[in-house]
């Protein structure tokens, strides 16, 4: 049974409104569309500017921590295929701290009895000052051994270099013939806020040649060198996405500093860092005990071995990691970087600045445009669409949906959405400001029109008619 009141209400919906009102409503829809577009552009610009401030940095730190935390708690139990061999037991050999090359050679020899995929040494072999080698008496012999061994391990044996990249490829590791062994082992400093979630994929550094000209040379990072992954063939869709700057891959960000040093970076999945630390092998202190490594089950087939100082790493070699509370030795960061690059499903994508802008615009559009469409559709009805209520519902639905998909399910989407807190704040602001603008705009437009007419049109007096 339909009540009398409901019948009256239904009639009021069905009855057509005067054409004049409909036109006014259409004008309102057009005006609100314009307001929506202007607000979207303004908020995206505001967000861009805010991101560069300290508080924007704090929000991005928070987002990084959240995303890495989500990755860590949703990690699967797949084998990482990476084993860190901790050389904390190796004794100091001289007044300048350096790792015994003899011990390292025996260690490589012991672990390589297994069919490994790769070996990386997170040991800094960079030369210093004008010396050709860091340890002149031992390094050339050790590098010759490594070159020989590299051929046996799929060509995947690399040693670490750091600051000597500025000396050019001929001097970075003492001689050009040792350059195939060189891999860069630096970690990006945090930009004044929290821990960095990115690591270098490669670095391009200028140097002065012996003839006086400036030349550039690119060095792979330890993880990228060991992963040895070629850029996969992309589908037309992936190419289009990359073309529109939405999700470039595999290098997410290229930063060039004032000295023209180019860092190509990627986002690292640190979710397995605790597993890698727990599974690390502590190398024995004495050569005679190296035999035990040959039978260690953790050094299985096709495993990647990273050699570095773990347990006893210096403070300068320990780094904060997003989503984790403690500081980890550098070798585990390289291990995570390698884990990220080794398999396609481990990689994380990051939206570029333009990608973020497009995304923000689309989300904003998806909220206000359907409401305008509904208003246009019900234009001829007596009662107006409850645009404000709809706006609120759609905004909150979008926020919840984006949070669930973008943050909660980051382990599935693999998109590292660093600015999600800012987007959510921007959406709420958009909703609020749009409402205010729609309330203020008609009066404002009327006043502006009157002012314009007062200036442009002649005074309308009865005598003139």
């Amino acid at each position: 049974m339909v009540s009398k009141k409901q019948k009256t209400q239904r009639r009021s919906y069905d009855s057509a409104v005067p054409l004049k009102v409909q036109r006014a409503r259409l004008r309102g829809i057009k005006r609100d569309f314009l307001i929506g577009v202007i607000l979207t552009i303004a908020l995206i610009t505001g967000k861009d500017l805010f991101e560069k401030t300290r508080y924007g940095g704090y929000l991005e730190d928070f987002a990084r921590d959240w995303l890495e935390y989500r990755l860590a708690i949703n990690r699967d139990g797949r084998p990482t295929k990476i084993v860190v061999v901790d050389i904390s037991n190796f004794s100091p050999v001289a007044k300048h701290p350096y790792t015994s090359r003899t011990m390292l050679r025996h260690l490589i020899e012991a672990v390589s009895t297994r069919p490994l995929r790769s070996i990386g040494l997170d040991v800094n072999f960079s030369t210093e000052n004008d010396e050709p080698f860091f340890v002149p008496d031992e390094d050339p012999t050790f590098f010759n051994y490594c070159l020989k061994k590299k051929k046996e391990i799929n060509g995947l044996l690399f040693v670490g270099i750091s600051n000597s990249v500025v000396r050019g490829p001929e001097k970075a590791l003492g001689s050009i013939k040792y350059l195939p062994l060189a891999a860069y082992i630096d970690h990006p400093n945090s930009e004044g806020f929290g821990a960095s979630a990115e690591m270098d994929e490669s670095i391009e550094v200028p140097h002065i040649s012996d003839k006086g000209g400036i030349l550039y040379h690119s060095y792979p990072s330890l993880a990228a060198a060991l992963a040895n992954q070629q850029k996969p063939k992309e589908s037309w869709l992936a190419k289009w996405i990359e073309l529109t700057h939405l999700v470039p891959y595999p290098v997410q960000e290229t930063a060039t500093d004032s000295f023209n040093i180019k860092h190509s970076r990627f986002v690292v999945d640190f979710s397995r860092i605790d597993d890698l630390e727990t599974g690390a092998i502590l190398a024995p202190a004495a050569l005679k005990d190296f035999e035990s490594l040959k039978t260690d089950n953790r050094l299985g087939d096709n495993v990647n071995v990273l050699i570095g100082r773990g347990e006893d790493a210096d403070d300068s070699d320990r780094f904060a990691v997003p989503g984790h509370t403690k500081h980890y030795p550098g070798v585990f960061l390289h291990a995570c970087a390698l884990y990220t690059l080794l398999a396609k499903e481990n990689r994380l994508s990051l939206m570029t600045t333009w990608g973020r802008r497009w995304f923000d615009a689309v989300v904003s559009f998806l909220i206000f445009f359907p409401i305008l469409m509904l208003r246009w559709y019900y234009n001829s009805r007596k009662d107006e669409v409850a645009a404000h209520r709809l706006n609120k519902i759609l905004t909150w639905s979008a926020i919840v949906f984006l949070f669930v998909v973008g943050v909660w399910m980051v382990n599935r989407t693999r998109i590292f959405w660093e600015d999600f807190p800012l987007v959510m704040v921007a959406l709420l602001l958009h909703s609020r400001l749009e409402h205010d603008a729609e309330t203020v705009a008609p009066g404002l437009v009327r006043r502006l029109r009157s002012a314009w007419h007062a200036i442009v049109l002649p005074r309308h007096t009865p005598g003139n008619e």
Binding site: I87, F90, P92, V123, N189
Partner: protein, 332 residues
Amino acid sequence: MRVASGSPGMIAVLVLAITTRAPAEQKPSIAMLDRIACAAVLTDGQGEHHISETSHLGRYLYVGDSVQCNSAGFFTVLLGAEQKEIKKRTFTAKARSIQPQPAQHARVQPAPYIATQQREFEKLADRALRFHNSAAGTRGRSLRIISPGPNSVVWPEHFVIRWVAETHPGKIALSIHAPGLTPPLWHADGVDGTVGSLDSSDLHRAIASYRESGSTDALLTLEWRSSTRSFDVPFSLLSPEEDKNLNNELEIWKQAENELLRAVGRAYSFASRGLFWDAAHEYEEALKLAPHSCDLVKEAMAVEEQANHWDRVQELDATLKSTPGGCPDRNR
């Protein structure tokens, strides 16, 4: 670094020759400038320089260097144990029986201008690199024990154990072992790790009696209570014969009239026996007398490095760079 004992005169000649431990491609010194009380001119491989006592006191003279007074007055040269006052005539340093050390690493350098450009460029590039990145790798395990240094020599009566003081409170255990002997020669448990040094009469007695048994090789072990890790440093004790020779030499230096020569001589006696901590102390005394001597600063740096005084090495390096008139690189 050890030299056979000999006559005091011989030792004194060797002092200036050996204490320099000249770097590669540098000839050993045989003499040192002391007082300069005239308008003196020094001629070396890099040309003629007007010198003064303020800036050149303690400057080593190398084979072929000559000094001349161009005005009334005199200058003194410490030549071995002698102190020669020279007036109005040229003093030329001669090789005597000391042969120049062979170059250790012959390096081919590009044209000097490009080399300078490269160095400057590398410095700036390194600074830019460090602004954005930090090395996430190891050089090696750092030394936690400062004294004794690895394979250095200690003087039992003056032996002090020094380690890198912990910033967080914690107890450490120290022990001295002899090769092949299971129970330690000396052991101290529950030592405060934040103190950074330990001077114990028990320790002196224990290692002195060990030395009397005819052995000199020993191993210091440092264990942190909070960690399973320990640090070992092998070192040796000054043998009784060397101890005797050292005391004789110190007596000779005591008799030297010139204070600078006394300090440099003592430093030599210590450094030549691997007693770097004591040698560093003597060089510090010498530097108080001749603070602008590039040679003494370099000597002190070398010894401080051996004594693991890294902060002091950096300070001296800064001194070297800020020396008035600069310190010439005498690669002749």
